[in-house]
Each structure stands twice: as C-alpha cells, then as structure tokens.
Symmetry: C2
Subunit: 137 residues, 2 copies
C-alpha cells in the first residue's frame, strides 16, 4: 500500500533559495515580501513556487506561521525545539520570542475539561517596540 507517504521532495535551487532567504530574515515575513527579496537579489523565484515552498515547510513544521491584522500570513523559520510564540511589533514587524509556558498549560487544561478533541491553540501578542516608539510618534 502506498499510504500517505512523506511526499517525496526534490532538492531544487528554488527551494534552497526560499529556505535561505527565510533563514536570513530574523523576523516574520510574508510570502510576497520573501518573493520580492528573492527577486531583488539575483536569485529570482516564481511567486507560486514561494507559496508552495512555504506550504511545504509549514507542513514539515519547519516554520511558524502567524497572521497579521489584514489576514496575510507571515512566516518565520523555526528553531530546533518546536512550537514557539512571539511578541510582534505592529509597526516594523520585529519579533521576539516569549515564554508561553503558562498558556501551554492552560490550553492543555482547557482541552481536558472541555470535551473537545484535538484542541489546538493560537496565541498572538502584538505591540509597538521600543525603537518604533522612539521614532515616529
């Protein structure tokens, strides 16, 4: 039986470029931004391909995904230890990881007492970072 195999993945220069570009962004970026960045650099990749690569990375759990207030998806390469939450600057997009252990435990507890199965949680913190506060008022 073929099963739901781990979907074969080839090594292509485009995917490598996307991953590299993503790694060079300390903060969350949208697919569009990433694409623009790749085009600006010499290594142009189709927008479609960027979207596909990102979806793949998301499925593989190698990126964290959040949504900005317009609903646009923002991606960030994930470190080794999985699942992480961030505090994002609404002005410049800068992000910093935050310790959300409390929330994790809370979510687990709700999951247990609610009668709901497969409970997942999304936590997003946004604010205005110190630098942006200092700059434009």
């Amino acid at each position: 039986m073929t099963g739901t195999g781990p979907s074969p993945t080839r090594n292509t220069p485009q995917r490598a470029a996307v991953l590299r570009a993503l790694g060079s962004c300390p903060d969350f970026v949208s697919a569009q931004m990433l694409h623009a960045r790749l085009v600006t650099a010499d290594c142009a990749v189709g927008l479609t391909t960027v979207y596909r690569a990102l979806r793949q990375l998301q499925a593989a759990g190698r990126v964290d995904v959040v949504r900005d207030e317009t609903g646009e998806r923002l991606y960030r390469r994930r470190g080794a230890q999985g699942h992480q939450h961030y505090l994002l600057c609404r002005r410049c997009g800068r992000s910093r990881p935050v310790d959300a252990g409390v929330v994790e435990r809370w979510a687990e507890q709700v999951a247990e007492t609610s009668g709901y199965a497969e409970v997942e949680h999304t936590v997003e913190l946004t604010g205005v970072c110190g630098r942006c506060r200092a700059t434009a008022r």
Copy 2:
C-alpha cells in the same frame, strides 16, 4: 473644531437587521453567512452593507472577531463585560466561552517586561466538539 467625532450613526432597518441576525446566532458567523441568512429570511440586505455594519460594530466593540484557518473573519455579538475568548469547533463552528484569566494576566506581564507598548493579544482555541466527534469520524 470638528475633532474626531464619534461618527454619526443613523438607525436604518438594514443595520437593525444585521444586529438582530447576529444576535440570533449563538456562534461565530462570517459576513457571507450572515448575508445569506438575511437573504433567506425576507429581510434582504446588500453584502456591502453587511460588511460595513460589521466593521462599525467591531469599532464600537460590540462584536468579537476571530479568523478561521482560511483567514475569513468570523463575528459574534459580545455580551456586556467585554473581551472574551472562545473554544471553537473546527467542524461545525460551535463555540463555547472559556475562562482565560490566566492568559490575560500573562499577557499583561509580558507587556510590562517587554518594553513594547500597547500590547494586545489574540488567543484562539480550536478543537472538535463532542457532537462532531460522535457523528462523522
């Protein structure tokens, strides 16, 4: 001086209809669903108007807004005491309020220690409710 007045708001049957329809939905609904519902009932309202009414209600803090996984906005009329979090069923959309006091306090603390200003938070819990679990596997 004109200032940023509290934007005059007229009472129109359409707005009343939107608010009424919203009130009759125990769970989160999208603008599109709400519009369909209004059309099905005799009181037809333009889709544009539904969107405008919802934005108005959101600005007035009279609805809670979340996003489903596709990015579509879902609205739910808010009770008296403001700001509330929910556990949503991914299959049927059913929701139940959850006590997120822990998270509120955590968010406040992060806000204080982070150096970020105007920190806001979004918390979304999703799962599969008991009824849906029992029904379709």
